[in-house]
């Protein structure tokens, strides 16, 4: 049962997908610290969107503006959202406009695995772009698997609950032949987004100041996601075409401030992409992978509040992407790779900008006696941009290296030491460069330097009760330089963007897991995750916030999960803790934000009816009904519920 986690990845073939290959953790593969949630475990966690699930990873901070439709962004090891790459079936999701991916938009319905890598994925056979981020999240959709004599799978689900949530979904997979199959997945998400929230304050002397409960408005969402894929298997390779379309209308729940309890911002999104990949082993030594993508994003934002400026803006983004990756095995234990990626980004309507980017990566992986593993990579990037009528406004060239090491000193013991260094950067976004009045076309990239050392230990005792134990500890030092920050212009809330910031980040991430077989059929899995992060602003000695903890980064955060299963019953309890933090740069009392911690519980029951499998689940989220805010003035929901029924044929 405790299948940890790593499937051999180099050679996909059609046989392996029938019998789940599970490599237990004592044969270590990953050089790079990775955290993975998948399959059953992912299903049992009380998570609706990808962002909810990522809360259980160490080293990350989520900004959650609340509710089903509220913006949710992820920041890894305090380096900022823009340093995080999010990959969907291996190809990066882009947002050249503001660089942020709203992970609240990705429901878990069709996601089979979420993996988080610090630095980059432990694999040199990848596209050049995948070497580019300071941290990466990989979202993998469900791969069709067919039991003997079956040519089709059907899965239908219905989720409903608080916020007037109604979320039906359908998945159909069809085996055209042994080497060709197709899948189709769709879901509809509809919610009023209404929830009660409460503000209760006491005076400094402890008397009640005020206590009010109100309803969150304008957090409604109506979204349809449709996806399809065609997967083909070749004698020594595979190909895949994936089509994705997401269409939504939502309210943007604004800040709750004195005398303002609702607002009129609305947002329409249409995100579509088609991506194809082909992977082929030409010789046992030489393999090629090609990725292609075309994406089109449409955003329509209006602000209808009669009390405020009327805004009605349309943004259109387009992206064309090509990647060609090669791997060559010099020796059985020594691989080299080279990849070239090219991408064109265009933004139109509101502002007309185009950007061409080229990436070239060289990487090598070397293994000694299966115990010492080394990976090194070098990434070159070349950016060329055109804004409006002006010619090339900027031309940027960068070279960034990364080095990863891991060492297992004793063959028979699952003790592994690891270390990495990586330099990476993020390009200024189109908003940073060109946003009305605020943009600054002369911005340079923002750099992140990462140094990480860690140790992990795996234990598979042949004990009746105690089945598995794992602990991993990583300590790191990151430096963010030339950080792009908003800098005040002389008058009235006018800003410009400058490469001014500098952040020093020192942290420790701990993850631990244990599996116990209590008696008979009772199985208990426990997971713990803890993050310590001291992320301080070292920009300027003269600032009032010099060496203060940067906004929204808690010193301490963590989570705990306990899963108890017996036959087809399971109970899952998860707890998330985010420590005290400050909502602005100065660590003073008026910027202080209280810790929050929520407990979530879920019950899952599986049934077999005439060959069909049915799963019923009930979730209670924020069990203690804590009134908290993740982002200042964006209150989160109190206790809420979700129910789900899924039937698989």
């Amino acid at each position: 049962m405790p299948c940890l986690f790593v499937t051999a990845q180099t050679k996909p073939d059609s046989i392996r997908q029938l019998q789940e290959v599970v490599v237990t953790a004592n044969r270590y593969k990953e050089i790079i610290p990775a955290q993975i949630l998948k399959g059953d475990e992912l299903e049992k966690l009380n998570s609706f969107s990808v962002a909810d699930a990522i809360r259980f990873f160490s080293g990350v901070q989520i900004k959650d503006y609340g509710g089903v439709g509220g913006l949710k962004t992820v920041n890894i090891r305090s380096m900022g959202t823009n340093h995080m790459g999010v990959f969907y079936n291996g190809v990066q999701l882009g947002n050249a406009q503001n660089g942020q991916i709203d992970l609240g938009k990705f429901s878990l319905d069709n996601i089979e695995e979420i993996a988080l890598y610090n630095g980059q994925k432990s694999e040199i056979f990848q596209s050049a772009k995948e070497f580019g981020s300071a941290g990466s999240i990989y979202l993998t959709t469900r791969k069709p698997k067919f039991e003997k004599d079956k040519t089709a799978n059907l899965k239908a689900g219905l989720r409903a609950g608080s916020f007037d949530l109604l979320n039906p979904s359908l998945l159909y997979e069809y085996k055209i032949s042994e080497s060709l199959n197709t899948s189709f997945s769709t879901e509809w998400i509809n919610a009023s987004g209404k929830y009660d929230f409460r503000y209760r304050r006491v005076t400094p002397s402890g008397n009640l100041a005020y206590d009010t409960t109100a309803v969150r408005h304008n957090g409604d969402i109506n979204a349809v996601r449709t996806e399809g894929s065609l997967n083909g298997y070749l004698p020594d390779g595979m190909w895949k075409v994936h089509v994705y379309h997401y269409d939504s209308e939502r309210g943007v729940p604004g800040a709750i401030v004195n005398n303002v309890w609702r607002n009129g911002e609305r947002l329409w999104d249409k995100n579509s992409f088609i991506q194809g990949s082909l992977q082929q082993d030409f010789t046992p030594e030489y393999s090629v992978k090609i990725n292609l993508k075309y994406a089109s994003d449409f955003t329509h934002y209006i602000n209808n509040d009669d009390k405020l400026i009327h805004v009605d803006n349309i943004y259109k983004q387009k992206e064309i992407y090509f990647s060609w990756a090669n791997k060559y095995a010099l020796r059985p234990n020594w691989d080299v790779s080279m990849a070239y990626d090219a991408q064109w980004n265009g933004l139109s309507e509101y502002k007309s900008v185009a950007r061409n980017t080229h990436w070239l990566s060289l990487a090598t992986a070397f293994t000694l006696a299966d115990r010492l593993k080394i990976q090194a990579s070098l990434l070159g990037i070349y950016v060329n941009e055109r804004a409006g009528e002006s010619d090339s406004v900027s031309l940027k060239k960068e070279l960034t290296p990364a080095l990863f090491l891991s060492y297992q000193p004793l063959k028979k013991h699952g003790l592994v030491f690891r270390a990495f260094y990586k330099k990476s950067f993020r390009m200024p976004t189109f908003n940073d460069l060109y946003y009305t009045d605020m943009g600054n076309a002369y911005l340079r990239p923002e750099y992140a330097y990462q140094y990480n050392v860690g140790v992990l230990y795996d234990l598979n005792p042949k004990n009746r009760y105690f089945n598995y134990f794992h602990i991993g500890v990583d300590a790191y030092y990151n430096l963010v330089k030339d950080k792009i920050i908003a800098y005040p212009k002389g008058q009235q809330f006018r800003w410009t963007m400058l490469n001014l910031g500098e952040v020093d980040i020192r942290g420790i991430d701990v993850t631990a897991m244990a599996v116990f077989r209590l008696s008979g059929d009772w199985l208990l899995t426990g997971k713990l995750q803890y993050t310590y992060q001291k992320a301080i602003d070292i920009t300027d000695l003269k600032d009032g916030y010099y060496r203060h903890q940067i906004p929204y980064i808690p010193l301490h955060s963590g989570s705990a999960i306990a899963m108890l299963t017996r036959n087809d019953w399971s109970v899952n309890y998860s707890f998330i803790y985010v420590g005290e933090r400050y909502n602005q740069q100065e660590n003073i009392i008026s910027n202080y934000t209280q810790p929050w911690y929520t407990g979530d519980i879920s019950f899952v029951k599986a049934l077999k009816i005439n060959g069909a499998t049915m799963k019923l689940s009930a979730e209670i989220n924020n069990l203690f009904g804590q009134d908290y805010e993740v982002v200042l003035n964006y209150p989160m929901p109190k206790r809420n519920y979700r129910f789900r029924a899924v039937i698989e044929l």
């Binding site: 304050r201 303002v260 009305t436 420590g579």
Partner: protein, 384 residues
């Protein structure tokens, strides 16, 4: 072992949420002698707070007791839900009452001037500035009553009866009106057009609206300059109007409006001074001003200070801070001059998202003291 246990205990202590208290006020002594009969007795400072942060706060410099009180409002008014509000834009005393215009909370907060205790509020959408005459308050607002064309968001001036705190009249003016100046007959309103400029499709406003005060009718619009902001009257009846410019090729300017001829009641632009002005304060014949403008070439703010003689319209000095401490001000954001002892107060908004500073200079421009304020200290008024 103790080394490991104590951080753990600290962590566990810090780990829990208690009751969430409102932010307590902080009291700091002001340097200098305590003068029990000082007049004015103190000065209120309204901190704007960044948009969406709900961190508009009121500080009070108590000249009689020599104390600076940071964030007075929550302590004096604990039961007000979500405290003072979001983005303060003006503070004034009229009679025995203190009025704070809270822009993004769409209200004018009315308090007792001595205690800062709440008396009531007047809901006015997107309110900007407040002035008074004969028992009425006049409040400018960026958005007037909803027009048929939602894209033409004309602003308005609301008349409020200070006794009943009810809106008793409204007049639609031009686009996004900011400061006003009131005479016996007219309200002069500086229109900015801030929602229209910068969009690329429409332009900033450039007019001063003239509103007949009794009928609450806009009778005239005087073309002055692009993106107007401040309007102040000197003791000779002239109006001093500042423009923000378009932040690109048209810089900020200072204009003088005077009667067309001694017998006319019509005001016209008589002078356009080649002096950028972000904010000003007139005391006697002296107009104290500063300017902070972004310089695209240099990539930083260009800050200037000065005094103009309103009688001669000549620049008297380009440094009213004389001891060199003006270099410590990152972004000047508010100015006030003590009518009795001539002390000059200048606030520094720094980066808009951290505590600002209030600097006090004596009449000769020497720094007397500096105090930490709330976020974006901007508006000041004296308590007698």
């Amino acid at each position: 072992m103790n080394k490991y246990i104590s951080p753990l205990i600290l962590f566990l202590l810090a780990a829990c949420r208690g009751d969430e208290p409102t932010v307590p006020p902080e009291y700091k002594p002001l340097p200098g002698e305590i003068t029990a009969d000082s007049l004015p007795s103190g000065m209120y400072v309204l901190n704007e707070g960044n948009m969406g942060s709900n961190k508009s706060t009121i500080d009070f410099a108590d000249f009689r007791n020599g104390v600076y009180i940071r964030n007075l409002y929550p302590e004096r008014n604990p039961s007000v839900i979500k405290e003072l509000g979001d983005v303060g834009n003006d503070i004034q005393i009229y009679g025995s009452r203190l009025y704070a215009v809270i822009n993004c909370s769409h209200k004018v907060e009315v308090m007792d001037a001595c205690t800062c205790k709440r008396i009531g509020q007047v809901d006015i959408p997107n309110c900007r500035y407040i002035r008074f005459l004969q028992g009425n308050a006049y409040v400018s607002s960026y958005v007037g009553p909803v027009a048929i064309d939602p894209n033409a968001q004309l602003g308005a001036v609301f008349r409020v009866d200070t006794a009943s705190l009810q809106v008793t009249g409204t007049v639609t003016v031009s686009y996004q009106p900011d400061e006003m100046e009131i005479t016996d007959e007219y309200i002069y309103v500086a229109n900015s057009g801030g929602y229209r400029g910068g969009s690329g499709k429409t332009e900033y406003d450039n007019t001063v609206s003239v509103v007949e005060i009794n009928s609450m009718k806009q009778v005239r619009k005087i073309p002055v300059g692009i993106n107007l902001h401040r309007i102040r009257r000197d003791s000779y009846g002239k109006l001093w109007v500042s423009s923000r410019g378009n932040y690109k090729n048209i810089p900020s300017r200072l204009f003088v409006l005077d009667r067309k001829n001694p017998n006319s009641r019509e005001m016209v632009v008589t002078d356009s001074l080649d002096i950028p002005c972000s904010n000003m304060c007139i005391r006697g014949d002296s107009l104290y001003f500063y300017s902070a403008e972004w310089n695209e070439q240099k990539g930083k703010n260009t800050v200037s200070y000065g005094i103009i003689n309103v009688k001669t319209k000549q620049l008297v000095t380009s440094h009213f801070i004389t001891d060199g401490t003006e270099k410590d001000i990152a972004v000047p954001y508010g100015i006030q001059v003590n009518p009795v002892n001539g002390d000059i107060y200048v606030t520094d908004a720094k980066n808009y998202v951290s505590s600002g500073t209030l600097h006090c200079y004596d009449r000769n421009g020497k720094l007397k003291w500096s105090e930490q304020t709330g976020d974006i200290p901007a508006h000041m008024c004296f308590l007698n």
